[in-house]
C-alpha cells in the first residue's frame, strides 16, 4: 500500500469506477482540455488542477466529455443523462459557480425522485472544488456545502484526506442518489492529507464519522481542511494534558449524528470548526443537533469557529485572518474548559 496525495487518490477512484462500470462518464469544462487546440496535446490539462488528467486517453472522448462554459446547460445534461441510464460524474470547477447551475441541483437532481413518486433515480455525482487559502479571492474560495446540505434529496461529501477521498468517491459513484462531492483545493497536495491508500477497490459508507483523535475533555467536530487544523490543535493540547476528540463527519448529508452525540455525551463540551459560513452554515446545524439531543450532557457553551461574515479577501494577510486558525480553535477549546480571557492568553502565549 502506497502513500498517495488526495489529487492522485481522486484520479484513482475515477479510474477504478470507470473501469468497473461503463455507464460512468465524466463531464465538465476542460476536464480533459486540448480539444481542437492548434495540434498540441489533447488531455492537455485534466481540469484546471490536473485531477482528471490521463482519463481521456484511457477512456475516450465518449466518456470524458469536455463542455462549453455553460454550467446550467451541462449540469442539466448530466442530470438528464443520470435519469436515463448513465452515471455521470460532473465537475463544477469551483463550487463558487453554483449560482450558475444551482437549479439543476436544487430543483431537478434533488427532487425528481421524490416528485416522480419514487419511480426514477438520479445517480449523479457533482465533483467540485471548495476552500480558501489560494488567494483566489471572493469568487473562487467559498465552501458552499451548507447550501447543498440543506437540500433534501442531495447527499454531500467533504473528504479530508486521500484515503477517505478515494473510498467516498467510489461510494458516491455507486450511489443511486445525487451526491455533491466537495474537494478542498488546499488538500490536493497537503502532506498531512497524503496517506496510505489501497490499490484495491474499497468504499467508505456515507454517514459514518471518522475519529481523527480520541479524547475525553472536549469534542471538536471538523470537516475537510479544518480537520487538519483541529488535529494540530489537539496534538498541541495533548502536550498540556487536555484531551481533545476530533471527529470528522466526512459526509454532511447523511450526518453521523450518533457519533457526534456520543462523543459530546462523554466529553460534555463541543467546538465546531467549519469553513462554510458564519451564518446558517453547517456548523450551526451540528450545534443545533447537540443543543437539543445532548443538552443534558453539555457542561459549557458550545463554540463555533467559522470565517467572519464577510467575503473572502484577496490579500494574503487578510485571507489568513479570514480562515479559521489553530489559534481560534485553541481559544474556543479553552473557553469551553472555562478559562477566562486572561488565562487563555497566557496559555496560548506559553505554547
Amino acid at each position: 500500500m502506497a502513500e498517495m496525495a488526495m489529487r492522485a487518490a481522486i484520479n484513482s477512484a475515477l479510474v477504478q469506477e470507470m473501469t468497473r462500470d461503463d455507464r460512468v462518464i465524466l463531464i465538465g469544462t476542460d476536464i480533459a482540455g486540448g480539444q481542437m487546440g492548434s495540434g498540441g496535446q489533447e488531455d492537455a490539462a485534466g481540469g484546471v488542477l490536473g485531477i482528471t488528467k490521463g482519463l481521456l486517453p484511457r477512456f475516450g472522448a465518449a466518456r470524458v466529455i469536455d463542455t462549453p462554459i455553460a454550467e446550467m446547460g451541462y449540469m442539466g445534461v448530466a442530470v438528464g443523462a443520470a435519469a436515463t441510464g448513465l452515471r455521470p460524474v460532473a465537475e463544477l470547477m469551483f463550487m463558487d459557480f453554483i449560482g450558475c447551475c444551482g437549479d439543476m441541483l436544487l430543483n431537478q437532481a434533488a427532487k425528481i425522485r421524490y416528485m416522480f413518486g419514487g419511480k426514477s433515480t438520479c445517480p449523479l455525482v457533482m465533483r467540485t472544488m471548495i476552500g480558501a487559502g489560494a488567494n483566489a479571492a471572493a469568487q473562487h474560495s467559498q465552501s458552499l456545502y451548507h447550501w447543498m446540505t440543506a437540500v433534501p434529496g442531495l447527499k454531500v461529501v467533504v473528504p479530508s484526506n486521500a484515503y477517505d477521498a478515494k473510498g467516498l468517491l467510489a461510494t458516491a459513484i455507486r450511489d443511486d442518489d445525487p451526491v455533491i462531492f466537495c474537494e478542498h483545493k488546499a488538500l490536493y497536495d497537503l502532506p498531512s492529507a497524503k496517506v496510505e491508500v489501497p490499490e484495491d477497490d474499497y468504499t467508505i459508507p456515507f454517514g459514518e464519522a471518522n475519529y481523527v483523535t480520541e479524547g475525553s475533555d472536549v469534542t471538536v467536530v471538523a470537516l475537510g481542511l479544518m480537520t487538519h487544523i483541529a488535529a494540530g490543535v489537539a496534538a498541541a493540547m495533548a502536550g498540556k494534558g487536555i484531551s481533545v476528540e476530533v471527529i470528522d463527519p466526512r459526509t454532511t448529508s447523511p450526518l453521523d449524528e450518533e457519533s457526534i452525540l456520543e462523543s459530546v455525551e462523554s466529553t460534555g463540551r463541543l467546538v465546531v470548526v467549519d469553513e462554510s459560513a458564519a451564518r446558517c452554515g453547517f456548523g450551526h446545524d451540528v450545534v443545533a443537533l447537540v443543543a437539543d439531543k445532548a443538552f443534558h450532557s453539555l457542561k459549557a457553551p458550545v463554540k463555533l469557529v467559522t470565517p467572519p461574515h464577510c467575503p473572502t479577501p484577496f490579500s494574503p494577510p487578510l485571507e489568513q485572518a479570514w480562515i479559521p486558525s489553530g489559534e481560534r480553535v485553541a481559544r474556543a477549546i479553552l473557553e469551553t474548559l472555562g478559562l477566562d480571557r486572561a488565562a487563555i492568553d497566557a496559555a496560548l502565549a506559553a505554547a
Binding site: M72, Y74, V77, A83, L86, G117
Partner: protein, 322 residues
C-alpha cells in the same frame, strides 16, 4: 408520409382524449377539488400528438409546466394522470408531484417541469445517454416561446450541435409567456431564426395543422435517428385558456379569444381534414369522441373516489437510501 387509417384515428383519439381531459379539469377546477396551479394544454394538442406518436418507449421527452398533453400523448396512463392531478396515492407520482411534475420515466417521460426551460438541458442529457449507450433513441424537449429566452435553452442547443446528439427542440409558440406577448420578449421576433444560427436545421410550422407538424417532426426524427444531429422546430400554436386556471386574460382581445376556437382549433381542423380526405367518417369520429368522454368521466370519478396518501409516508422516496 402516408399515414394509415388506424394511425390517423389513433392520432385523433389521442388529441380528443387530451382535449377532453383538459376541458374536464377546467370544469372541475371550480369545485375546488383539484389542488395547486393548473396550466391547460387545450388548443395545442396537435403538437404533442404529432410528435409523440412517432416516438416509442426508448425515446424520451421532457415537458414543461403545461405538460398534461405531452404526457398523455407519450403514453402516460390516463387514469394515473387524473389521480395525480387530484393528489391521490394511486396517481402516477403517488400524489407527490401533481400537475407541474407529472412524469413517467418508464414511458420515456422525464416529467413536466416547474422551471421554465429546464427540460431542454435535461432532454439533451437523455440524448447523450442514447448516443453514448447506442440505444437508438432520440430525445425531445417541449418548451414555449417564453422559454426560448432562457439562456440555458441556448446552452443546450449549442451542446446538442457540438456533440451532434439525437435531440429535437420543439418550441410551441402560443404567442404568450404567461401574460406577455412573444413579440415583446423575443428581441428578434423569430425563435426559429435565432436557433438556426446555432448551426442546426430550424423550421417553422403551423402548430394547428397535425399533418404539417407530423411531417416536419418526421424529418427531424429521421435525421436524429440517422445520427445526423439535432433540429429545432418552432410551431405556431394556440392557447385556448389563460396562462393558468384563473387567469382573466386581460391582455387578450375578445376578438382573439373568440376567433381561436373558431378558426384555429387543431382538433376541428384535423376532423375536417379526415372527413374531407375520406380517411374517416363522421360516425367513426363521433364514436371516438364519445369514448373519450366516457374514459375521462370514468377517470374523474375514480380520481374523486381514490384515497389520499398517508401522511406517515411523507418522507418516502426522498432518497433511494439514506
Amino acid at each position: 408520409m402516408a399515414l394509415k387509417k388506424e394511425e390517423l384515428l389513433e392520432a385523433y383519439r389521442r388529441m380528443r382524449t387530451i382535449r377532453e381531459f383538459e376541458e374536464n379539469i377546467h370544469r372541475e377546477n371550480t369545485t375546488g377539488e383539484i389542488p395547486g396551479f393548473l396550466h391547460l394544454y387545450c388548443g395545442q394538442e396537435a403538437n404533442a400528438v404529432a410528435v409523440c406518436m412517432q416516438l416509442d418507449d426508448t425515446d424520451y421527452i421532457a415537458s414543461n409546466h403545461r405538460g398534461h398533453g405531452h404526457c398523455l400523448a407519450k403514453g402516460a396512463d390516463v387514469k394515473g394522470m387524473m389521480l395525480e392531478l387530484y393528489g391521490k396515492e394511486d396517481g402516477l407520482c403517488h400524489g407527490r408531484g401533481g400537475s407541474m411534475h407529472i412524469a413517467d420515466v418508464s414511458r420515456g417521460i422525464l416529467g413536466a417541469n416547474g422551471i421554465v426551460g429546464a427540460g431542454a438541458p435535461l432532454a439533451t442529457g437523455a440524448a447523450l445517454t442514447a448516443k453514448t449507450l447506442g440505444t437508438g433513441g432520440v430525445a425531445v424537449s417541449f418548451q414555449g416561446d417564453g422559454a426560448s429566452n432562457e439562456g440555458y435553452v441556448f446552452e443546450a442547443i449549442n451542446m446538442a450541435v457540438m456533440w451532434q446528439l439525437p435531440m429535437i427542440f420543439y418550441f410551441e409558440n402560443n404567442g404568450y409567456g404567461e401574460f406577455t406577448g412573444h413579440d415583446y420578449v423575443v428581441g428578434s421576433k423569430d425563435i426559429a431564426g435565432r436557433a438556426a444560427a446555432f448551426g442546426l436545421p430550424a423550421v417553422r410550422v403551423d402548430g394547428t395543422d397535425f399533418f404539417e407538424v407530423y411531417e416536419a417532426f418526421g424529418e427531424a426524427l429521421k435525421r436524429a435517428r440517422a445520427g445526423k444531429g439535432p433540429s429545432v422546430i418552432e410551431a405556431q400554436a394556440v392557447r385556448f385558456y389563460g396562462h393558468f386556471e384563473g387567469d382573466p386574460q386581460a391582455y387578450r382581445s375578445t376578438e382573439e379569444l373568440e376567433s381561436v376556437r373558431e378558426h384555429k382549433d387543431c382538433l376541428k381542423i384535423l376532423r375536417q381534414k379526415l372527413i374531407k380526405g375520406k380517411k374517416a367518417t363522421t360516425a367513426e369520429l363521433d364514436t371516438i369522441d364519445q369514448e373519450a368522454v366516457e374514459l375521462i368521466n370514468a377517470c374523474r370519478e375514480a380520481a374523486k373516489a381514490a384515497a389520499f396518501p398517508d401522511p406517515a409516508t411523507l418522507m418516502n422516496n426522498t432518497y433511494v437510501s439514506y
